[in-house]
């Protein structure tokens, strides 16, 4: 049963354009995340938010910016996309992001292709 919803499923764009991805979770979790999964399936955390507050911000290019309106929504904006941004962007949520053994619930991802 899907509880983390991502839109769009796919997006194709050209270098230099701006894109935005949306994520909503209906689990009542406090923490949400953005992960990037590259063509080799490698998963890397980009950002995490706890109750609308940024708590993890990995070293990602400044063209990436997360946006959170409430604890159920976490969007990702990419200004001026580059070819290396082509990947699957996965949104996830968890009950508590304080280093406890929480379970991450992932959405099905947004596949970005930059031409």
């Amino acid at each position: 049963e899907t509880a983390v919803f991502q839109t769009p499923n796919y997006h194709v764009t050209q270098v230099g354009n701006e894109v935005s991805f949306n994520c909503k979770q209906t689990l009542g979790h406090d923490t949400m995340y953005w992960y990037k999964q590259d063509s080799k399936k490698l998963l890397k955390i980009m950002f995490s938010y706890n109750n609308k507050q940024l708590i993890v911000n990995e070293t990602v290019p400044r063209r990436f910016s997360p946006q959170s309106s409430d604890k159920a929504h976490l969007n990702l904006r990419i200004k001026s996309v580059e070819p290396e941004d082509s990947a699957v962007y996965l949104c996830a949520s968890s009950y508590f992001g304080g280093g406890c053994a929480e379970t991450l619930y992932f959405g099905s991802g947004t596949r970005l292709t930059v031409l």
């Binding site: 399936k41 708590i55 996830a92 992001g97 304080g98 280093g99 406890c100 053994a101 991450l104």
Partner: protein, 113 residues
Amino acid sequence: QQQVRQSPQSLTVWEGGTTVLTCSYEDSTFNYFPWYQQFPGEGPALLISILSVSDKKEDGRFTTFFNKREKKLSLHIIDSQPGDSATYFCAASAFGGSAKLIFGEGTKLTVSS
């Protein structure tokens, strides 16, 4: 550098056989080790997890083993089924740290009938 390493990168087993995936880590503060399963077109989903105070956890056909001294863990799947074909990720995190789960590179498992 990759803090959590998995092997093999890909694996094919026959239906009914036993699958063994392995994982090693470097950070001795890691104490929580989940395994996630990802099917094509879907996000990863938690399969089984273990804390560093245990050396074995079993859930049906899936068992994870943990060796603290060697900093290694493994996932065993007995009676492997074609429906088990997926990519498996081990991961690690530390209690009390930031909300940061470190994933391994993944193992693509194919179970042939």
